[in-house]
Symmetry: C2
Subunit: 355 residues, 2 copies
Amino acid sequence: MNIVPMMRPRRLGKVNVPTVTLAHGGGGKAMKDLIDDVFVEAFDNATLAPLEDQARFDLADIAAHGDRLAFTTDSFVVDPLIFPGGDIGKLAVCGTVNDLAVGGARPLYLSCAVIIEEGVTIELLRQIARSMAETRAGQGCQIVTGDTKVVHKGACDKLFITTTGIGVIPDSRVLGAHLARPGDVVLVNGLLGDHGAAILGARGDMALETPIDSDCACLHELIEALLAASPNARTLRDATRGGLATVLNEIAAASEVTIEIDETHTPIREEVKGFCEILGLDPLYLANEGKIVAVVPADEAKAALAAMLAHPLGAGASAIGTVNEGEPGRVTMRTGFGGRRIVDMLVGEQLPRIC
Amino acid sequence: MNIVPMMRPRRLGKVNVPTVTLAHGGGGKAMKDLIDDVFVEAFDNATLAPLEDQARFDLADIAAHGDRLAFTTDSFVVDPLIFPGGDIGKLAVCGTVNDLAVGGARPLYLSCAVIIEEGVTIELLRQIARSMAETRAGQGCQIVTGDTKVVHKGACDKLFITTTGIGVIPDSRVLGAHLARPGDVVLVNGLLGDHGAAILGARGDMALETPIDSDCACLHELIEALLAASPNARTLRDATRGGLATVLNEIAAASEVTIEIDETHTPIREEVKGFCEILGLDPLYLANEGKIVAVVPADEAKAALAAMLAHPLGAGASAIGTVNEGEPGRVTMRTGFGGRRIVDMLVGEQLPRIC
């Protein structure tokens, strides 16, 4: 468990800082030591420990939670790796947990594959691994298997993480982007655009007086509370890349309905609005990492909203709009001035490497 | 499904070649078009089609195959992307299928997350996606979910792929690196080191008269045949990064036994031996992508070897050594000259980005 002898020290001022070398990706002793020292140490659990080529678990344990398996994967390439309110490790765990949860699944098992650029410090890796471990702690899921690759300096930008998740969907729970119906109500659980603004701020593109924190959070408990209050909820989506606007467009297209939201009920921080105005961005397209869009039947909307408001991650929840008959796939916003504008699918790219 | 209008053409000679732009990673319309055009087109199946945030499948279907789930992940960063005998896509599917299969699992579902460098041609992506689809075809498993990220030019080297797999382990099948016992026989299914040699050759490090093909292959059917012939097999491992030597060291350490192999029975191509001699490499550490190491009880060794030899991917199979009592974790090789040398764990790095 002592990897110091394996590392080529890099001089930073007067201190030798242990860094990752290509030897750590070779499949041999150096890699095993790195994995033991950084990842097994942080993720410590009985399933991961044997370090076989695969994690194994009893189907009976899974079947006790529900009747269907959910399976999701995401690569994270966020720049910078550490930002106000989170880091790439927290983002990777939350992102995968949320992708399971919006399908109605309870997250059970995560895998973690890292691609590391030669020269990254071991301390940075430890910090990210600890952050992943802390984020998943208490979420009812474990990081049970992983992989480590090291590439030459210049072949990747510091660190990319791919997390994949397995969850189980309780019997009879049915959610889908195609299930929204005219009359349904559209809810969000709080302020939109904070993650995108936090990343932009952290890149130094804007000198913010007070940095905006990313909203990065695991939402499965909020979602369980929401589904208890609204058992007939139609659709849940996390509004990540592409933001609220993209999710609404996907739901409207898949369900062949029109969605109209109300600007005055759509919660966006004043700083984020100002920020976007200066940069020429539309906050409706800014990424979130702790926000869901929920479409629920009208008669369950009040209970659903109350359930969100009662949860710490839903304190800013709001009913932002309705599902209507009309041109399939169309999304509009009633503005604060009483006008109406089309909210289209994002065509170009707003912010690269936002997650 | 027409992505041409979304792409910024890049001039290559006189032809405009469509390439990936940052817009393809933005989460909006361009990304959806790219995914539809390249990945959904190639991986076409009913589970993938809805493009929800997660794939879902019935636990009852899984439970019909066995009682335990196996879960494995691997990132692939091989350079070059295309090499004799394969490409990064084939490698990613085979690598994940094999990691499931060596745990005794039948591969069922794969996910595929790609990180793409801005400027990669759409045609290259199509070629890799088609290769993944062709590789998994007939393997009984499907690519059911995925993710696409695009990074700035220079932030990654062309294309990285992370595949994650779910398989199911039939009742009563127990395999593990810690289960080798003195008296057991060690088998491999054919020539060692071809993948490592193929990659080195493809990088132009050696001007080979006849290029060596990677042995990249999905081994789960060979493994099913082997396990039918040797129901008490102790350990299966695929000898990827770090090669045969690393796998034998891991088994010897986990089982607290000594393993001795015989050089004259260890199958290595003459060209690979020559290649390694010139470059100062040891072929025992060269990566394989279609070779397993199997430890089986002595009384099942003959049947196990016959089963491998009867399979097209085991035509070069050989019993290469035995498990013995002795210093735990020690691996030795009896050389062709009658001597004996220690085969240690690889300490440094032999070949970066081999897989």
